[in-house]
Symmetry: C2
Subunit: 207 residues, 2 copies
Amino acid sequence: MKNLPDKTVERLSQYRRSLNNQLTKGKTNIFSHELAHLLHITPVQVRRDIMLIGYSGTLRKGYDIKEMINLIGKIIDTDEGQRIAVIGMGNLGKAFIHYLHEKGSKLKIVASFDVNPDKTDKTYAGVHCYHFDRLAEIVKKEEINIGIITTPPEVVPQIADKLVEAGINGILNYTPKPLSVPDEVYLEEYDMITSLEKVAYFVKHRD
Amino acid sequence: MKNLPDKTVERLSQYRRSLNNQLTKGKTNIFSHELAHLLHITPVQVRRDIMLIGYSGTLRKGYDIKEMINLIGKIIDTDEGQRIAVIGMGNLGKAFIHYLHEKGSKLKIVASFDVNPDKTDKTYAGVHCYHFDRLAEIVKKEEINIGIITTPPEVVPQIADKLVEAGINGILNYTPKPLSVPDEVYLEEYDMITSLEKVAYFVKHRD
DNA sequence: TAGATTGTTAATCGATTAACAATC
DNA sequence: TAGATTGTTAATCGATTAACAATC
């Protein structure tokens, strides 16, 4: 399948979670306006996204929830499940481990890293914490292909270099330090302070 | 000043941090291509943003760093500084408090809330944690106008209702539960699982 | 049938980028 | 002057929304 638009991919992730939720409530089918309502978006947008992934529903019953969940899984997940490392075991790193631990996701955090000896060689929510120095070694051994960076900003460039060198394919950078990586590595950046300052701006300037 | 585009506001927050950084390094002026390089964006984008906020530089020296920092402050911050509450003192809530504690930001987290008696009536990084039940009371007393929600998803709608009722003006929802609020309240949502699944998708489908 | 719904194209909106005149 | 840079308009790209034919 040709690459989907950025925003559609984001929504697919959200559709899937909502659909799983509906499934546990005993629902088997759903109309575009119902799914739209759950996510606070428009029904057209839902139908267009569904069109883009090549699925279709029926006029009488809407979409089959199980079929859609499976299809979204085929699009987002790999058969083996992707293997992830968290670098930086502060509160944010722990939050990620905790979140993914709860969900029955195909994404698996299989290792974490830190420099603080109070944190290394311990296990948090089933995830072992190694010393930074062993990054390359463990990434290869555990076949990790995605890294989440939640370290202090100063060390981010070195961490990224090491991750890339170790052969990682995707990086999620949650620090305020902008990063650049080779083209073949997918990079997603998110900055918590910026998100908060954005709220502050629009609160200040709301009509 | 008329409302700026969403993305420009986000970048202003990032410009400011980079500029502060440069200032501590003893730099007083900066060219658009230098600033662009720091953020890994294009010089045109920098210049266009600067145009939109009504600032201008000089051909010889580029932009005056101090002036730009001050101007961005005037745009984003309020004179008194905005007062923020964190609802949910899990790892993510703590991460926010910790982050803002470090930075000399005008944004101040002045209270946090939780239900767990192990957490309430304690102070974390200078921020006192109250019981949920006192939300409305404390929001009014402390003149809080922004709330960051980092609770488990199930309770999010009630929390949001209470925040709105108490007269809050902006909400930053970091849970995977989509929210809708009255028009006069600014809402920003961010979902960590979605950001990770997006990376997973693009890693899987990279060429 | 009438009404509700899907699927899809065309129009619109918002953000980025290309192009270039002006200037030191 | 030649070269580097800013400021700004127009063109392009990407995402959302409006409009509507098809169908049960």
